[in-house]
Symmetry: D2
Subunit: 402 residues, 4 copies
């Protein structure tokens, strides 16, 4: 039974963090009800440590109140949902406390910076779920309409048995070796570099699209630029970069498929290119996040002379999530992956069903990232992954639009 | 002097109409202040004839109040801006009354259904402007970052002297001959078909990008499907389509350039493809609205062996409007052409400068559309356009982001 | 009855001209028998006015002998085929004489520089055909495998009823206003500019793909650069350009379709871009000669959510002409449009059937080009084309590979 | 001193093998002199075991004589060049005998099926070279104009220091699990599968483009379809596939760059897609063999707002090899990679310089392939490659067109 049953009061939402992800999540909360039928909710509190800055952000992004201590919102009866956009090293503490306080939690990826944290969080989520308190990890690209369509096509057998998968996430914001240090480039704050930040999305997509499990991993990581200007600028001297610039892996999947994964922050000219290629025995799919409204599909059962990758402009009412938006051919932006995420999270909370991806799904990605690092530390030697002790509940989920 | 000078009260906005364009404009009003520094304003009143429907739309789209008679909002002192999203045949009456009442007017394109209306509106706008009351016609594609960048590159001489221009707007929603009748397919309500609806955008872009004037027009229009199922469905019988499905024109420009223009609603597989190609003697530009975050640029002054059209992913902070949004490579959607439009309109209103495109710009497009129809009615024979009696004021405008 | 019946001697071939087209045709003759089963033939004589130059060319391109007077080869019994690659102003005299001498004629396009010549040639061809002497005009792009496939798909109804067609041929070799004068830029030698040289290909493709007839034409031509450095260079002063740099037309087709045609030699960055788009009520096709091994096909009868233009890499054995070449994915070059042309010409000659495109087909294109010029000279006013007095025989032809 | 010095007799060429590669090499010999200035040569003898079949092939492909025993051509004084297109398992015996007989050898890749053979051949080549007898291994893609241009741009520093490289060769001819057995799918005849056949090309390109050396390799291979219909068809039962369908590797380069390599024969919809991406700190390059006339180049030193991958249509006279061919925009086909190869081989032979890629280059690729297999057999654990004992001579070579 949902904790909200029997009440018609709007769900109260508090969000912790207001940087890049906070801006994107706020946009989702501010707009979701203009496009989708969702339960009533209110953007109540924005939480951040700097009182003035958080006040400005709240005004800008549509939050009614502010707080500087995230613990205070856990005590409030009018807050039902905590949206955690704080940095990764704070995830475990906040999420566990929120779940214990009976709050539904939407948590930005990655689940956590360490395996121990991730496991504790997953246990807390399982416990909370048994009491009707929901949780979800924000692998937002599961809600790109083109990728939701890709999953549907694969599930419907349109490309047959999947064999060979290629996943890559290529960016170039560190191609300039004068790009300065930040918390993202230190192991103690970021956990890892391209691996945790973007390879994680690529790996999550492999699991999502194939609905499969990784059994074996070979990995490699590399830092091309080992020292960068400190926050004091060049005068302040160079500081050590302690995370990877790039990562490579091959993943064996339980089904027999093999996926290659590649992530880079020095792929000059690639701005935000999450590329997926899935080759089955009856067809194939291709996707690039830089053209997020497009899916390339090849039907290998068509007559040979008519075969070819077709560019589906995923903007028809028949496509996942799209009927809420604009007429065909009027494309949507990156930020609406979060709008869809919030929509699905709200529907799950109101219906008392477990949203997807769950913390277990986030833990699964974390285990794979961990195995990549283990393999990388052992000369790329293959690392076996044992099946998860507790199979993730409710991971199938729905990816369909209204 | 701006009528708002000396007051710090937020600008009150009323919007008339809540269909497709109303939904898109509402999105702009609801979000513009989250991304851009704009003067304070309030989404006060949404106006529509059906009280229940307008109430539902207002709740969904963020309007505080509703009204069923647009005249009532003109009488209110707390309303400073009227956003006209009503159908074209209502434009003249509403816009002239609003301007006369001292309200700033943002008006969806096309300016009007007839030349007489367009001229009366332009006169009213000129009169109002002299009293500090501003007006703007919503050729939203001027605020696509890629097209704003294209204009800047042309103005900076990066493609040299422009000679040959190709403009096309291709859609396919009437390719199915069973697609039903609507007000858009009747001359008395829509004025024209593909010509006024989408060729108008293509023509406006030619004027915008080249900052030029049309002197001569040859045109052609055609209706491929002359009868369609009535609103009563097939049983209700077929009704006559009285507007064009497709239109073609060649335009001579004062500079010596020549532009071809082509519009179609039966271009199967083209969903919303506004295509522009501008060939100069030092370079060239290409654009397709289906990939609205991209601009193709060729620099013909580079060494021959390094020349080629480069795909600029218009998502860098250095690009027009983009620094307000997301990190590089995170694309924006079609709807934000309106967000940028509203931002520029608000800035113009608050600074007391004339926004662009003006009603004069809208009239100029109208005159060209009219010439296309005249030519089409005369076996495509060239029609001369005399220079506008009153040159448009303030049409240069700014297209730059914050 | 074929004049070759009863003899097993190889067909003797003489070619007149050895510039650009001569080089391309020679390549076809030199290689056709290595890939296709064709009747035996010999590359006997290369004809050109400059004895030394023609000798060098013959050695390079594989011709056994040379001659400096084309009339001499018409007298030889061992010459059965004349391949005319001489400039357009020589076409009529050579072709008529060759046909009268009982030689099969393969003639580069355009058929002729004037309508009078074209008509005389067509009459000669018809007369010769009645005696078993064949003739063909070299619209080589009919033998691009992707365009042959396009024609087959249209003929098979895969895109339904064709309505809207867009044809363009864009080049940029005259974008530089210092590009020098040549015979191609003077009316007396070239007949016309972009119109005859490249719009002719675009128009021929419209006729070929749709198997249709033009009834009405509106046209426009323009010269952007009116004076160019003479053959003596800048010091020698500027000379007048007397042909068009660009041309535009709309064509009404007997079926009810409408085609736009656009040609330019100043389309900066477009190198050799013959673009075709054919929109039917059940699908669409797109092609660009710069990617000549690809055809884009959209099947509008597929479920909406799976529709999209598919890029067919036309390199499968199932595709026209392709099984003679390389394994799938190994693309062929532009020059093999001529190899296919020569193959089909040889098969037609040996089987005594009329090859396609015939001189009548060439005349039909010429009539349309003439109408474009007439219309252009009359302010773009529509010009009617009466149906050809003598319908072209054997124009359907075969475009299939072996 | 070249063995040909002092003689003006044409070089006599014999070719061994006339299947796929023989057809492609024959095309090169038949046409090279029509486009390039090369020393005089004659297509003298085609060698194959089946007398009737080789006679037919010789007639078709332009060889004057035939032989059924390759040893006979080694004894002839009028044969100076042996072009080895026989299967890989015959390479060592033929090449060593030919070199010992003083014949220049052009040898199809891969160099050999085993490391022992490859080393013996390389020693023979080094010995022969010291006596003026030349040898070359046919990594034909080094002569794709776009890739030759890529190498020049990298060498000129246009993309700065190379860091991250992605190389993939994707085909799909084994995607159908009913595709039958062949010698290519058995270890004893083919050596390996996708690895040796196509990953070898990808690896050679990494070495070629970067002019670098591999120091460390992690690898993986996999066979997705383990049993296939035998040559007797389904009735004949299934036979074991004993080579890989796909291969993955990461390569460390001496410069500090890292390359990923991926090859597949089950990449449904990818027909012949050799993809290369080279990311430097000042720019990037991309290439796909399915569009072999195009190179994508990004100049990261341009102003941010003008940056983007530009599609260079490699068809200008300024591009490597291209001035021999057609006007700009007229693309060439796959087969001319061999035409360029033969051209460069002939020039090297006649000038007495060592052609590139040498057998040492072929051995280097072989050593990397061997390391991939070693690593794959050891759970992907990294394998170190020691620097070659004898550095390859003359490997820099020239890739420029005439």
């Amino acid at each position: 039974m949902s904790p909200d049953a029997g009440t018609t009061a709007p769900l109260g939402v508090a969000m912790i963090g207001y940087a890049f992800m906070g801006k994107a999540h706020s946009n989702a909360w501010r707009n979701v009800a203009s496009y989708f039928d969702v339960p009533a909710f209110e953007q109540k509190v924005l939480v951040g440590r700097d009182a003035a800055a958080v006040a400005e952000a709240a005004a800008k992004y549509g939050w009614a109140e502010t707080a500087t201590d995230w613990r205070t919102v856990l005590d409030r009866d009018d807050i039902h949902i905590i949206d955690v956009c704080a940095p990764g090293w704070m995830h475990a503490e906040i999420a566990i406390a929120a779940l214990d306080a009976g709050k539904h939690v939407l948590l930005e990826k990655p689940l956590a910076n360490t395996m121990a944290e991730a496991e504790a969080m997953t246990a807390a989520a399982a416990h909370a779920r048994s009491k009707g308190v929901q949780s979800m990890v924000g692998f937002n690209y599961r809600r790109v309409p083109a990728l939701a369509l890709a999953k549907e096509l694969i599930a419907a057998g349109r490309i047959g048995t999947v064999r060979h998968v290629r996943a890559a996430y290529l960016q170039d914001w560190l191609a300039d070796d004068q790009a300065p240090m930040s918390w993202r480039l230190k192991k103690e704050t970021a956990g890892s570099g391209a691996l945790g930040d973007i390879a994680s999305h690529a790996i999550d997509q492999v699991l999502f699209l194939l609905d499969d499990r990784v059994t074996e991993v070979s990995g490699r990581v590399h830092t091309f630029v080992n020292r960068r200007p400190g926050t004091g600028g060049q005068a302040g001297g160079l500081e050590d970069v302690t995370v990877d610039d790039a990562a490579w892996a091959t993943l064996s999947l339980a089904s027999g498929a093999i996926a290659s994964v590649e992530a880079s922050r020095v792929a000059t000219g690639r701005k935000n290119s999450l590329q997926l290629e899935v080759f089955g025995d009856k067809g194939a799919l291709r996707f690039d996040l830089e053209n997020l409204n497009e899916l390339q599909f090849l039907d290998a059962t068509a007559p040979a002379r008519e075969q070819g990758f077709r560019r589906i402009l995923v903007s028809e009412p028949e496509h996942p999530y799209v009927d809420a938006w604009w007429p065909q051919g009027h494309i949507i932006g990156w930020e609406h992956t979060f709008t869809h995420e919030v929509r699905d999270f709200l529907l799950a909370v109101s219906s008392g069903t477990a949203p997807s991806p769950s913390f277990e799904d986030g833990l699964e990605v974390q285990r794979i990232l961990d195995a990549v690092e283990q393999s990388a530390a052992s000369n790329s030697t293959l690392v076996q992954l044992s099946p998860a002790a507790t199979p993730a509940a409710g991971t199938a989920g729905t990816t369909e639009g209204a």
